[in-house]
């Protein structure tokens, strides 16, 4: 017997199961990565981070001031 298309071939995926962490829906909708992956991959080569020394210095200052 013929079954309606899709009903027996597409696994059901609930909304909660769709992984959307760290995805910006607007970014995704505008398709920046598929179109500009070369530029975005280049930008990703640097990652400025606040070092531990600087963070500790800030926390120490805050503790002193409070």
């Amino acid at each position: 017997m013929n079954k309606p298309m899709g009903l027996n071939s597409t696994p059901y995926l609930s909304y909660q199961e769709i992984l959307v962490d760290d995805i910006d829906i607007y970014d995704d909708a505008w398709g920046f990565y598929p179109e500009f992956n070369d530029v975005i991959d280049l930008l990703k080569q640097v990652k400025p981070v606040a070092g531990r020394r600087l963070t500790n210095r800030l926390i120490k200052r805050i503790r002193q001031n409070n």
């Binding site: 505008w30 920046f32 530029v39 280049l42 963070t55 210095r57």
Partner: protein, 195 residues
């Protein structure tokens, strides 16, 4: 599983005297703030000063009741950082001092290079320099969106809040920025040669 406290819950506890709550906020948001400042300012010492000043100003404002929760804590913090950067440039303009753009320092605290060989290190430094150059040559509004999205990791909704434009305008600026950067990459023959 223990539920992570929201920014506002942490602020409330901090105001009531729980010092460690503000430290949690610092650890949660420090890289977003640092990345934003470090891509505007070249002088490493100044970046560190502005980074600290931003959080000290946040504390001052929180304690004087100037922060009202609307779920946009990080947008508010970034606006404080932005204003401090603007103040800095205004001061420089008033003093008519020489730009610190020529100051050469490794502003990108990327992963430790100790185990990398010299060639890799040099290539990486060149790529970092190229990226900084690409970003610095963008118009101000496009540069801001790129930094906030790719280095501070903010959503377009948050970027729209901070820059006081619609989400569509922020998205449009990003698109133009990416087009412009690709054009510059082609003109200057910049490619990703290191992984």
């Amino acid at each position: 599983m223990k539920k992570m406290m929201t920014d506002y819950e942490l602020i409330e506890k901090f105001v009531k005297g729980e010092q460690s709550c503000f430290e949690t906020l610092i650890h949660r948001h420090k890289n977003k703030v640092y990345a934003y400042i470090s891509l505007y300012i070249r002088d490493q010492a100044l970046v560190e000063d502005l980074f600290q000043d931003t959080f000290l100003k946040v504390i001052q404002s929180v304690k004087s009741g100037k922060y009202y929760d609307n779920g946009k804590f990080i947008s508010w913090v970034m606006r404080i950082a932005h204003n401090l950067i603007i103040d800095h440039f205004r001061r420089i303009k008033q003093l008519n001092t020489v730009s610190n753009d020529d100051y050469e320092s490794d502003l990108f605290n990327s992963r430790k290079l100790a185990e990398e060989n010299i060639e890799d290190h040099l290539i990486k430094r060149q790529i970092q320099k190229d990226i900084r150059m690409l970003i610095s040559q963008l118009p101000d509004d496009q540069r801001e969106v790129v930094i906030l999205r790719h280095y501070s990791g903010l959503s377009f909704k948050e970027i729209a809040d901070i820059t006081e434009v619609s989400i569509n305008t922020a998205l449009g600026r990003m698109r133009y920025a990416l087009i412009n950067m690709r054009k510059m990459m082609e003109e200057k023959k910049i490619t990703l040669t290191f992984n």
